[in-house]
Subunit: 330 residues, 2 copies
């Protein structure tokens, strides 16, 4: 059987450029080797890709859902899994054959962790993003409560999510430091060896966390591409032109194949007009013909990947491997 | 085994209110009985729900993807399936055990239909939405070409997608008529018995189409709810509060559980601040506690449903049935 090429793929299809992926993996491994980086699997939801991260020395992982934790454990990647999120029912976590740590930010989530058979936690601290996380002043009290419940408290986490996407690097660095000072104060009250924080946008300016939870760096998207980071856009959606009219064309990559919360995707050499459920309408330059293939570059990879059952690793036009997106759902 | 209730569901979970669903099905069956309505399955991607539509007399269906066509045929719902979209490779359609009609708007898509073993087509006409569809003046020529290729031409379709969401009913009706005059002119040149058009927003003012392709009416969303239609919002996402802070709370229904192209979802009695991948941050009134359950109402159901593997039919708090969302993917 001859090698599959891009032309053989049913569209819309997630395509990962092998060279760009390797560049991103190697760049991060050089910058933050080993346990300095705890890759966030929510960005790709793919154990085959996580295995590549592990081969680059990153064998501790961050997850956003119980399903991601289960899938990583089942894939043999459970050496040290952090669920960087609160849950009110931890029983599925307690059953995993893996080292499991879960974020807690309240007595209720500590109770749930203990009742579910989880053994280790991080105290999740609000460092400026209005989402999960306790107030920094409450962290020590919660750590004491967790220890009384028999849980091991490994340290703190605090995600500076309001900072990671800021355009200006100096502003990012300054606000990151402000957030991390809050986290370090909480850490002094909590103890433990772990200060877990950060994302792709702060991977190189967050000098206070012991480990960085970056996810997007490995595939990237047009939103993160604006920040001038040393990572390449590796993920695109291959689409087929299905209709051509005067001034515009339509391809079969719609908003059910793309995360739309960051806005429209990008098509090189074209102006994107809008996306419908199964269509993208755009003005190409030069003109296209029905049957032509185009690449659509997502504005936000995480919710894009979550729509697809598989992604294809491609070198040039050759499909090297097809990986299940096996961590979808909850 | 006792009946399952809402409390037993893992969150986030798609919940369909049985009473509202029945109301919507009955209302549409009364307004547009039998083949006057060709329900669009893209809105729910669920053959179990399509079976309910068929039980109400709607046994002809509209699909947006080849995968939807395959799933409907496999479920025994292939009496008359329309793929209301262009494809450049129709071989999977030609293999289906179903009556298959596909939209065409160019010589290339007619060639693809014929080469793929499809036997019947509709000429897709642009009636104002810049997406697929030939210019009205080209419809007759394309129909002739399709017939020379051995295809049966059943008529025309033309989606007034730029009209269906307009707030003002009178404006909707007027612009719908403008679009349908274009479609009827094309129909005179094409022939055949079918004039297929419309959506939930024009189901009762489009008096020119022989059949209406509405989909959203069956589950509804906050965008369509603004139009004052006689359909009820039947679909919500059940979520669990996982964190509570001063002034806001966080639940486990993020933008990977919601279509975001129409904006933020709605939480009754609360102000939604923003959605992250797996979180919704909102200001509730009155205050909530960790572990409380809330309902999140999507702005756009189609891309919401496409993120979920199943939906639960619920009467009061009792889960009556759990249906696979079995038409996802391509």
């Amino acid at each position: 059987m001859s090698a599959r090429t891009l032309d053989d793929l049913q569209t819309p299809a997630l395509v990962v450029d092998a060279d760009s992926l390797d560049h991103n993996l190697a760049t991060m491994a050089a910058a933050l080797p080993g346990p300095r980086m705890r890759p966030h699997v929510k960005a790709h939801k793919c154990t085959a890709l996580a295995r590549r991260q592990a081969a680059h020395g990153h064998r501790t992982f961050t997850c956003a859902t119980i399903r991601e934790m289960e899938g990583m454990a089942a894939a043999g990647l459970g050496e040290d899994l952090l669920l960087a999120n609160e849950v009110t029912d931890a029983r599925r976590l307690g059953r995993l054959d893996a080292r499991v740590t879960v974020a807690v930010d309240s007595a209720a989530t500590i109770d749930a962790a203990a009742a579910g058979g989880v053994r280790e936690v991080l105290i999740d601290v609000n460092v400026g993003l209005p989402r999960c996380g306790c107030m920094p002043d409450d962290a020590g009290r919660l750590a004491d409560y967790a220890r009384r419940k028999g849980l091991g408290v490994r340290g703190v986490m605090g995600y500076e999510g309001h900072v990671v996407g800021l355009d200006d690097r100096a502003t990012r660095a300054r606000l990151c430091e402000d957030s991390m000072q809050l986290l370090l104060a909480a850490h002094r009250a909590v103890g433990g060896g772990v200060v877990s924080a950060g994302g792709t946008g702060t991977f190189d300016c967050n000098r206070w966390a012991t480990e960085i939870q970056a996810g997007s760096y490995v595939l990237m998207d047009t939103a993160y591409a604006k920040l001038g980071l040393p990572f390449r856009q590796a993920l695109s959606v291959l689409a087929t032109v299905i209709s051509v009219s005067a001034g515009y064309a339509v391809a079969d990559c719609g908003l059910k194949a793309l995360g739309m919360d960051h806005g429209n995707p990008t098509v090189q050499g074209a102006t994107v007009w809008f996306c419908s459920d199964e269509h993208i309408t755009f003005a190409p330059e030069p003109p296209l013909r029905v049957g032509d293939r185009i690449r659509v570059w997502p504005a936000h990879i995480d919710p894009t990947v979550a729509y697809h059952a598989e992604m294809h690793l491609v070198a040039g036009t050759t499909v090297q491997e097809t990986w299940p997106v096996d961590l979808r759902g909850w």
